[in-house]
Symmetry: C2
Subunit: 217 residues, 2 copies
Amino acid sequence: MGKSSGIPEPAIRRLSFYLRQLETFVAQQERTVSSRQLGDALGFSDAQVRKDLAYFGQFGHPGIGYRVEGLIVRIRRILGTDKNWNVLLVGMGNLGKALMSYRGFAKKGFHIVAVFDNHDRVIGRRVDGPQRLIVQPMEDMEQAVKTLNVRLAVLAVPAHAAQEVADHVLASGVRGILNFAPVALRNVACAVAAVDLAVHLEQLSFRLGGGGTSPTP
Amino acid sequence: MGKSSGIPEPAIRRLSFYLRQLETFVAQQERTVSSRQLGDALGFSDAQVRKDLAYFGQFGHPGIGYRVEGLIVRIRRILGTDKNWNVLLVGMGNLGKALMSYRGFAKKGFHIVAVFDNHDRVIGRRVDGPQRLIVQPMEDMEQAVKTLNVRLAVLAVPAHAAQEVADHVLASGVRGILNFAPVALRNVACAVAAVDLAVHLEQLSFRLGGGGTSPTP
DNA sequence: TTTTGTGAATTGCTTCACAGCA
DNA sequence: TGCTGTGAAGCAATTCACAAAA
């Protein structure tokens, strides 16, 4: 199995960018937008934009373009962000705390409804975010996933713990993982998205082609 | 201009993942690794691994594989992370503070040597990280870039300010940007890497295919 | 044997170019 | 005219498959 829809994965990624740009256009009172305008704003060709959108339906109007508000609604529906998602967060270190106070999640309909850690020092503590939550021990996860209808987990744990935590999270019934730990998760039969700052920094470093200073110690 | 080296961009991205995995292997006392082992750990084919590495040189030994430590050194040199990089950080909100206390930057040789904001409330304040720094006003940026030999900037500013800040940062002599704001930067003649959590969440949501709960308000 | 490095074949993605509609 | 949607063409990336090396 794997690859089934026939829609290129890059096209699905770009859908998110189209949505983001359309939200900018709507804030600028734009009513309609052409594939060329949308592409120019994002650095894609007009043909690319049309083909990508056409994978999902006929949203445009010849001679007019795409109606901005309508297209936003359609793309949200395609991506599944027209609905709310309950999310759990594992790991209450620096990164976990920062993510708790990050408003971007809720703005997109992703609500952190439970937080977990395995350190006695933090279990039972209250953490402030959009909601106030109590840090729970890992054992309580399965219960929380069921009662709160959780489908997504955010992993903000150290690299050495990530695989074990991922296994636990999966066993608790979670279906998708947003992984901030700099390791590749193995044998996780679910959707995984990874955020690794080191990777981005390395790409920048490569493209700047040697402008570093002293050798790293 | 654009695209010149003949090396596929995806191959350059994967180089970062190879490096990360090799660092895991070295921690496990592995001396050599085959393209198959490396690929399996990351979900790539063995042929992919060999072809990617071959773009940059002949690092392997038939019948043996790749020497882990040696390959790490070679990849670091290719990516430019065998040297230190001085980095400036713009925006001292929640995200900026979280990034200041993130050890992953320094671990890879990226050192935040100056921080900026345009709010009087935070300018002049001390922020703690690997080093203690004073938040500077935007006007002082050009000076700092020159005296500290800065080539990279991290943007942790609100979306509505990102374009303006990017222009300013570029004008100050910075050559690459790591952008955390959820907007596409336009007309920035430099290397740009973007981190957008919303995009990752949307990709997960899409792949889970409608398991959200109530409609978003 | 095992495993690399690499041309050839294949797959997949993007761009082209135009019919059709407003 | 302006713009979409789409088959065909072109290009880029991946996989195949094998000679050569240890």
